[in-house]
Amino acid sequence: MRFTLNGRSVTYEASGARRLLDVLREDLGATGTKEGCGEGECGACSVLINGEVVDSCLVAVGQVEGCEVVTVEGLAEGTELSALQQAFINYGAAQCGICTPGMLLAAHVLLQRPDRLSADDVREGLAGNLCRCTGYTKIIEAVLSCRT
């Protein structure tokens, strides 16, 4: 089966029932996507499939046939951080960093929306990404700073 990962074409030949999370981390060396629970509760494994944020521990790899998959490794342009990544650094939105990849992807999708974003919108959009370190305060500030 074939899909694109961060713009690159990937051919995958093993079991289609394997979790996309495991394929990314173990077969494709893309360890930026993390496993926090394996139950679809924490969002640490979030990736984008055709622009939508999903938990990759809940996706069988066969299901991304022909799809565009984006992980945290695809956010920067070469060595240049995206505005959102830079905001996370500037605002102190990453502490231990384990939730950060998933959080960035969920926030990235939020920022694609053309309409205004309130703090409550950001909370709702990030509700599927658990963070234990930050209390979410600076994550919300960082995301909102990208939409002004």
Binding site: A14, S15, G16, A17, R18, R19, G38, E39, G40, E41, G43, S46, E52, V53, V54, D55, C57, L58, V59, A60, G62, Q63, E65, A106, V109, E124, G125, L126, A127, G128, N129, L130
Partner: protein, 266 residues
């Protein structure tokens, strides 16, 4: 999971055929329940294959069909939330979809999955009961009243595939979920009420999503206090990891009162 075969039919006919002819086969849509159980090894019997119906065009979409709104079994909750028709005709279902999980789960969760799993806590299920929805499968239609037979047991035959849900257009239904937290929450109780015909449907208070018959009879006579009193006897909640029977009973009554008061205020 390596030992599980992944099957991906191109059409609904292929899907139906494969489901009928492949032993130990489980349909896979958004995976929000199945993939967790597959990884944890808790499915009994252990499946030998998963049948991926997620991308079948025939199972997607929200569209008017006669005097009903037809929602594809593999349409995502996000798709339902964004549908202008769904917002117009079945706002309680949209409200329920909004309370499920969070963005990631809404982008993959489906009505087909919610129905097939038949969890007593399924958030859309009391709404479908209150709407008198109809489950459409590859071979027949099943009224929602007849769908839930027991704990996680449905009227579906072993190889029967849900293809759509049809919801009548003319109902006025309200919804409230009491979860364990503000998002990513399993319900402690979840309720949908239709004013006319009188329907009071409650989840997480029995082994199935259920209709509260006593409450409905009182409601049909316009007796709000009577409905609130009767619902306590209709339901059979338990103590579990999430909550207690006493709490569920009290909150079921409180929520019913609140929803019925909202009706009378309109």
């Amino acid at each position: 999971m390596q030992d599980v075969t992944y099957l991906r039919p191109e059409t609904i006919q292929d899907a139906v055929q494969l489901y009928r002819t492949t032993p130990g086969c489980r349909p896979l849509a958004g995976g929000t329940d199945l993939m967790v159980m597959l990884h944890a090894g808790t499915l009994r019997p252990q499946p030998r294959a998963v049948l991926d119906v997620w991308s079948l065009r025939e199972l997607k979409g929200v569209r008017r069909v006669g005097d009903a709104l037809e929602i594809g079994a593999a349409e995502s909750y996000t798709g339902i939330i964004r549908s202008a028709d769904a917002n117009r005709y079945v706002p309680a279902l949209v409200a329920a979809a909004r309370t499920i999980g969070a963005a990631q789960i809404q982008n993959r969760g489906t009505l087909g999955g919610n129905l097939a799993n038949a969890s007593p806590a399924g958030d859309t299920l009391p709404v479908l009961l209150a709407y008198d929805a109809v489950v459409v499968t590859d071979r027949r239609t099943i009224r929602i009243d007849n769908f839930f037979l027991g704990y996680r047991k449905t009227a579906l035959q072993a190889d029967e595939l849900i293809t759509a849900v049809r919801v009548p257009l003319d109902r006025d239904v309200v919804f409230r979920k009491v979860g364990t937290r503000a998002a990513q929450a399993i319900s402690k109780i979840v309720m949908a009420v239709c004013r006319a015909p009188a329907r009071v449907a409650v989840g997480s208070v029995a082994e199935v999503p259920m209709r509260a018959g006593g409450a409905e009879r009182a409601l049909a006579e316009g007796d709000v206090a009577g409905a609130v009193g009767a619902v306590a006897a209709d339901i059979r909640p338990i103590d579990d990891v999430r909550s207690t029977a006493d709490y569920r009973r009290a909150v079921t009554q409180n929520v019913l009162r609140e929803l019925l008061d909202a009706f009378t205020r309109e």
